[in-house]
């Protein structure tokens, strides 16, 4: 039985989520609400619309979106430019997006069949093969659509395309099991070892996540773990030590790489476009000091025998030089 997925973006030629050159599918819908999330458009499992005021050519010169809109007064303009769209009323804005001549209305989410996704994925097959790459599904929470992912991965494996699943693991084990047979690599976060704090910042406890990771480790699956290092949320010595203990004791050290992703103020525009308040608004810190701190955390993990990187790539001797 073929099931469509709700895809909110397909990026060709990504290099950060898994080895080699990859195509990445972002699936819509997530049970968590991490305050630092850079993809708020991925939260709701249904189609949403956002506005890009910098692309809007103004109500006065154009106005095609308001003319096409089935409901009045839901498109918000500031200084004559479309600044946000109210997604709370359940209105279908596809006619507005269709009418906009300047890409100022973005529709997040599109129903796609496995066959449609494969048509895009296949286009870069040559690049995957030469680079050891493949496809990565991400989200949102990819396993909220586990039937779709299972079918997609099966189709990929049938064509010798390697697969990687990026997931929060905040999902029932049976969803993992559906995808498991056709997954070559897993990527997941370890956001915070204290479940109370985890719940405070993400909206959910970590028990399910840790349990799923333990099961996965027992199955000897290839796994990359990540910590989105957020100032004053999870960068304290207690959490860092607990994380290392968990990896070494509960996961038996079966982690290919632990990647530390330093907090970046990303996605602010999208919060605005979606009319959602940005949870990290009040967070201010010295970037240089913070970066040094993250490097120290990496040293700690490496000293404990966990292969740990800052960022997603191995650094060369040379540093990226900024003029």
């Amino acid at each position: 039985m073929s099931k469509d997925g709700i895809v909110f973006d397909i990026q060709r030629f990504t290099i950060h989520d898994g080895p080699g050159l990859r195509t990445e599918l972002f699936l819509k819908g997530c049970p968590l609400r991490c305050q630092w999330c850079s993809n708020p458009e991925s939260w709701k499992p249904r189609i949403q619309w956002g506005a890009y005021p910098s692309k809007c050519i103004s109500l006065e010169k154009c106005g095609l979106c308001t003319a096409a809109c089935p409901v009045k007064g839901v498109l918000n303009f500031t200084d004559g430019k479309l600044t946000s769209i109210d997604n709370s009323k359940g209105v279908d804005y596809s006619a507005c997006a269709e009418a906009c001549p300047s890409d100022a209305i973005k529709q997040w989410g599109k129903s796609m069949s496995v066959a449609e996704c494969m048509a895009v994925i296949r286009k870069d097959k040559d690049y995957y093969q030469r680079s050891g790459g493949g496809i990565t599904v991400s989200g949102g929470e990819s396993l909220m659509q586990s039937d779709f992912v299972a079918e997609l991965f099966e189709a990929c494996q049938a064509e010798d395309i390697q697969t990687c699943c990026e997931t929060t693991f905040y999902t029932k084990w049976r969803n993992v099991e559906k995808v498991l047979p056709n997954t070559d690599l897993w990527i997941s976060d370890l956001k915070q070892m204290d479940t109370k704090i985890h719940r405070k910042y993400t909206g959910g406890g970590n028990e399910l996540i840790l349990e799923n990771l333990r099961k996965l480790a027992d199955l000897n699956q290839r796994l990359i773990l990540r910590i989105p290092v957020i100032p004053n949320v999870n960068d304290d010595p207690v959490n860092i030590k607990a994380t290392a203990d968990f990896i070494l004791n509960d996961l038996h050290g079966r982690v290919e790489t632990l990647q530390l992703l330093s907090f970046m103020r990303l996605g602010v525009e999208k919060y605005k476009a979606l009319n959602i308040p940005y949870g990290m608004e009040g967070v201010h810190f010295d970037r240089k000091e913070f970066q040094a701190h993250v490097e120290q955390i990496a040293d700690y993990f490496n000293q404990r025998g966990i292969h740990c990187l800052v960022g997603t790539k191995d650094k060369e001797v040379e540093a990226v030089k900024k003029n």
Partner: protein, 830 residues
């Protein structure tokens, strides 16, 4: 990293590990890239020298022409060349190991009055070279200025330019550089043709003495029954005079080096000067016996081609191949170390930058940069049997390039499916260093293109690159590459507007319909075809006239003798003496046309979003007051080339093939035919300035699309799906149809290729690129941020090279519009 592809390996190695990192992106103000202090000194001295104009060649050539007014043109050329070589000042620079300049001090530009003088007189009087916004040149003093004016005055009416003005009809003139610039034949209208590589392997084997001996034998064997007897006799006589003059000139250098050695206090330098003298004596009277002597002979032979004519892109052939026997022999004898070989190479690399060329402002606009340009040095690839040809020199030549980081030589690496991993890694490390070299050529389509020109498989495999991207067979082909810049966006303007110019409203071409009246998209395509036919008729017939004037007024006996078929036939290159003869004009703005057609097809004929008349009006109004339509044609709702979208890619293919079809197969006067190229180098900027708004969403004056690249307008880049999609689009055309070459620029910011993984990603990307079949690619590893910083503080970025198109240039020396074009080109991220 796991890869399913088989890797091939080589034992060839330079002085450094194959995977040594040379840093990432441009590094401000470095003066010590090379491990050889001598090379760093020579490089810095070069950078600090001024761009002067030198009057000596003009003086000596004029003097000789005045003295020999009654003899045949070939002999006039020979005597003028001889007069220069016997009398020009000689220059041996501190620390240099190889001698020979282009009859002017290093970095000073000589004048070549044989081609044209009107613009020189005009520009000195009205828009002095010293006051140019970029590409400035300096006449040293008022005395020189007056002398140049006086001498040029004598040439008025005698040059190729003068004869050409009188030969073109009004239909040709209206489209040319003196008219609406639909096609620009500037380069060979005002200067020499160049674009060749001689048979260095043969020169090394027989030397000047061998060539002279062979010419004398042919001369003796000429039959008076041959109706071309006199012409052939003059060819051999002229060539012999010139090659003898070369020998005398080399000996003059030997004597000067000897003299300098006598008074040189430094012992080490004294020995070097003595060796320079010995090298010169050896190559004047015989053949090179060492690697150093081979490089010395190479330098003299090559620079003298640039004394004979100022044609650019005098290229070095497959230098890692023809030079290898000398390297190998010295290494075997242990008379040379790898380090010494590399130092000599690097010294020669720096020297390759010395020749500069004063260009008219029209040519300068389409081709920024003060070097001659186009001195390509080809390495790697397959040999005549199809096996990988990588050797130690291949690796050393790349190391020399990254150690010197200068405009010249233009290193070109031939890639094929079995290119060794070590070579590919070294290539990627050089590219990542962000100085714009090397450019990569793809053997499979290139060899196919050579065979389309009639060559055998073995010959085709021996191709080298001359100039930006043009393919040539060393010692056998006179391809007249880079013959004209064609503004296809202007032709499209004729399609939309009934053959009339938007700028002036004047009727230029035939009225083949207009956008307000076409009933179907097929009618539009039929009109495109007719306009292309008409304008390529005008251009190609103009080029045939220019070609015939070069034959009549500026034969090239010196360089011709390096071509075996000229030697055997007694025919000069300009008379069709080479085995393969071509004329290659290149199309600019292909994607501008493709995206224009896409707007028209989709919005007018399929979606009925607007009428043809409305779109035409919007374009005429430069999109002003048509905001919705302007946003629409620049939006992702309209199909655009470069996104792996067949709808738009098919239209690109149509335009590409349309141009190729109208050029291919036309005959030229040298017994060859016309060959299409699809690249603009940087001419797309100047052409855009002169072009009205277009249907792809360009406003008046913006650059048209560059080379094989996608459209980017002030409203944004039209390629939005990343590099794989772009390359897939690019690979949908058969590049070998463009027998004169295609060109693709890609730009990544530094952090996209950072680290070991970044290196591997780029390498794998290149592997896929080559496998997909485009002919050429070159990279800029430079963020927009860096370029903007250089615009702000040019003084800190003096030696920052950027890959403009086929060539690299110093960013801060480019004109503002071209700088903008480079910044606007899509920054690709993995």
């Amino acid at each position: 990293m796991l890869s399913t592809e088989k890797r091939y390996h080589t034992n060839a190695i330079g002085i450094e590990p194959f995977d040594k990192s040379y840093g990432l992106g441009y590094q401000v103000n470095h003066a010590d890239w090379s491990p050889f202090p001598r090379v760093n000194d020579l490089r810095q001295t070069f950078l600090d020298r001024p761009y002067d104009i030198d009057v000596e060649r003009l003086r000596l050539v004029t003097e000789s022409y005045q003295k020999h007014q009654s003899c045949s043109r070939k002999l006039q050329c020979a005597y003028a060349f001889e007069n220069v070589l016997l009398n020009t000042k000689l220059y041996i620079y501190d620390e240099d190991l190889i001698v020979g300049e282009i009859a002017a001090p290093a970095k000073a530009a000589p004048i070549y009055p044989e081609f044209s003088v009107n613009w020189i007189i005009d520009e000195i009087r009205h828009s002095p070279f010293e006051e140019r916004e970029h590409d400035k040149f300096f006449i040293r003093n008022d005395k020189d200025r007056q002398e140049i004016l006086d001498l040029c005055q004598w040439w008025k009416g005698k040059t190729i330019d003068d004869h050409l003005q009188a030969s073109l009809d009004k239909d040709q003139l209206k489209g040319s550089e003196v008219g609406e610039k639909i096609f620009q034949t500037n380069l060979y209208h005002y200067a020499g043709v160049g674009h060749l590589a001689i048979d260095y392997a043969k020169l090394m084997k027989v030397g000047y003495v061998g060539l002279i001996k062979e010419a004398k034998e042919h001369l003796a064997a000429l039959s008076k029954r041959d109706p071309e007897w006199a012409s052939k006799r003059d060819f051999y006589l002229a060539a012999i005079i010139m090659h003898e003059a070369a020998r005398t000139y080399i000996k003059r250098y030997a004597k000067l080096a000897e003299k300098m050695a006598q008074t040189e206090p430094d012992k080490k330098r004294k020995t070097e000067l003595k060796q320079i003298a010995a090298n010169c004596y050896q190559i004047a009277d015989g053949t090179p016996k060492t690697f150093w002597q081979a490089l010395q002979l190479f330098n003299i032979a090559t620079t003298l081609i640039q004394v004979e004519s100022n044609g650019h892109s005098i290229s070095y052939g497959r230098m890692d191949q023809w030079l290898y026997p000398y390297y190998e022999a010295d290494m075997k004898k242990k008379s040379l170390t790898k380090k010494q070989a590399l130092e000599l190479l690097e010294v020669e690399y720096v020297k390759m930058n010395n020749p500069t060329k004063l260009k008219d402002k029209g040519s300068m606009a389409v081709r920024n940069g003060r070097g001659f340009g186009g001195e390509s040095l080809t390495i790697g690839g397959v040999d005549r049997e199809g096996n990988d040809a990588t050797n130690d020199l291949t690796m050393l030549m790349l190391e020399g390039s990254v150690h010197t980081r200068m405009m010249n030589p233009w290193i070109c690496v031939r890639m094929h499916e079995k290119t060794p991993y070590e070579l590919k890694t070294k290539v990627v490390q050089c590219i990542r260093a962000g100085y714009g070299h090397p450019k990569l050529y793809n053997d499979a389509p290139a060899i196919k293109a050579m065979m389309r020109k009639g060559m055998t498989l073995e010959e085709a495999r021996d191709y080298c690159v001359v100039g930006c991207v043009e393919l040539s067979l060393p010692g056998k082909e006179y391809g007249w590459h880079d013959a004209a810049y064609v503004n296809t966006a202007k032709m499209m303007e004729m399609v939309l507007n009934g053959g009339r110019s938007f700028n002036t409203g004047k009727q230029l071409g035939p009225d083949t319909g207009n956008l307000a009246e076409y009933k179907s998209f097929d009618e539009v395509l039929a009109s495109v075809d007719k306009q292309f036919e008409y304008w390529t008729d005008q251009m190609c017939s103009s080029l045939n006239i220019i070609d015939s004037l070069h034959r009549q007024l500026k034969p090239l006996p010196y360089v011709s003798l390096f071509f075996s078929d000229c030697m055997d036939s007694g025919k000069d290159l300009t008379e069709g003496g080479a085995k393969y003869n071509g004329i290659g004009p290149q199309a600019s703005g292909t994607a501008t046309c493709a995206d224009s057609l896409s707007s028209i097809k989709q919005l007018v004929f399929e979606d009925h979003y607007c009428t043809g008349a409305e779109l035409l009006k919007a374009i005429k109004d430069n999109w002003e007051g048509h905001d919705i339509l302007y946003a629409m044609v620049n939006s992702s709702k309209v199909h655009h080339y470069g996104n792996d979208d067949d709808y738009a890619d098919d239209l690109f293919k149509y335009m590409f093939e349309c141009y190729c079809r109208h050029i291919t197969g036309r005959k030229n006067l040298r017994g060859g035919d016309f060959r299409p190229g699809v690249y603009s180098v940087n001419a797309n900027v100047a052409m855009g300035m002169n072009t009205h708004a277009s249907a792809d969403g360009r406003k008046k004056g913006e650059a048209i699309s560059d080379n094989m690249g996608p459209v980017h307008t002030d409203a944004g880049s039209h390629d939005i799906c990343g590099p794989t999609a772009l390359v897939n689009s690019l690979a949908k055309v058969d590049h070998s149809l463009a027998t004169n070459g295609t060109l693709m620029n890609l730009r990544f910011p530094e952090d996209a290729v950072a680290g070991v993984q970044g290196r591997d990603d780029l390498l794998n990307f290149i592997d896929s690129y080559i496998a997909k079949g485009p002919m050429h690619v070159q990279f800029n590893i430079m963020s927009s941020k860096t370029m903007r910083a250089a615009q702000k503080h040019p003084e800190n970025y003096k030696d920052m090279l950027v890959r403009v198109a086929g060539y690299s240039a110093y960013f801060v020396e480019l004109g503002k519009p071209l700088q903008k074009d480079l910044i606007q080109r899509t920054e690709l991220h993995f």
